[in-house]
Subunit: 188 residues, 2 copies
């Protein structure tokens, strides 16, 4: 018997992604978002939902671009900080000591120290409710060589991304390998 | 120095969610999706992107509803299977032995054996590229009591959701507790 928890955004797992933007004066900003996901394979797109009150919201509207930097476990503290304070009154890169790198493809900065980054051009803006959903077309993905597997793609055990739990507000790392996609189910 | 991996949907982590729908004749179907995420807090909404070729795509268009059932690790094989075969020519519930439960709130079934489920009414349909993004308003969230923490919300260590890695096509479990959201970053 399942217990009703009400109409709320209670779901598992959600990602911890850091959205990089420039403000009107060119100051780099970084904001952590968990209301996000891949939304199309071709063109390759990701969707990120932000409230209009956030500094990043205005930055994306103006610059038509953003990046996603995926923090590894070791940058948990910085990733959480990026979600707590506003770029309106804080230089978050200066405060954390992390390094903004200007994308050569889109008008936005990414976080140098994070192992996996996506550079996105704003493709669609959808108003859903208190959140605006920004759909970004992925212009390029870049990764540190140290996190790539033998197949040339990011290895999740090396990249060590963080998983977030809404409501309980907990962060977890990636656990044990369970199996291969489009493979383990063939036994049925 | 980061290596360019090209314009592709290479990002970590992405979820493993099973989308429940009814077809035109009322046959329950389940399909696994990873191109998905929360997209609004109020109204509470999730977005799921599907190709028009999928059986689930037509079902959602017709019934204006879907569920998300979050499989725990022990149902990895079934979750992978749900993403391999099509409901057009297969009764996936019969093949796996899992139990479809008719939602009393929306016109869609969920998977009884999975610990966390969301019942969603179709709110928006956005065409992005080869994927259609379905935005569902969450009517209710239901969870097995066994996976709830002391705060009454799902405990990710108990629910044991699965994480997927695009390209490398690997499934992983949830790892160690790293810290608390809106808390660990305050040290900066």
């Amino acid at each position: 018997m399942k217990k009703s928890l009400g109409a709320a955004t209670i779901i598992l797992p959600v990602p911890v992604w850091v959205i990089g933007t420039y403000d009107a004066r060119g100051k780099p900003n970084a904001m952590t978002a968990a209301w996000a996901g891949v939304c199309c394979s071709d063109p390759p797109c990701v969707a990120v939902s932000l409230r209009a009150a956030t500094y990043t919201h205005g930055n994306i509207k103006r610059r038509k671009a953003f990046t996603i930097s995926v923090p590894s476990e070791e940058y948990l503290k910085e990733a959480d900080y990026f979600g707590i304070v506003s770029g309106r009154d804080t230089d978050k890169f200066a405060a954390t000591g992390l390094t903004p790198v200007k994308s050569d493809l889109v008008d936005a900065p990414y976080v140098k120290e994070f192992p996996l980054i996506l550079e996105c051009k704003l493709l669609h803006t959808f108003e859903i409710g208190i959140h605006t959903q920004f759909v970004g077309e992925i212009a390029d993905v870049k990764a540190d060589k140290e996190v790539l597997g033998e197949d040339g793609y990011p290895d999740i055990e090396k990249a060590q991304p963080i998983v977030y739990t809404p409501m309980a507000r907990t962060y977890h790392g990636i656990g044990k390998y369970l199996g291969r996609g489009f493979s383990v189910g063939r036994k049925i």
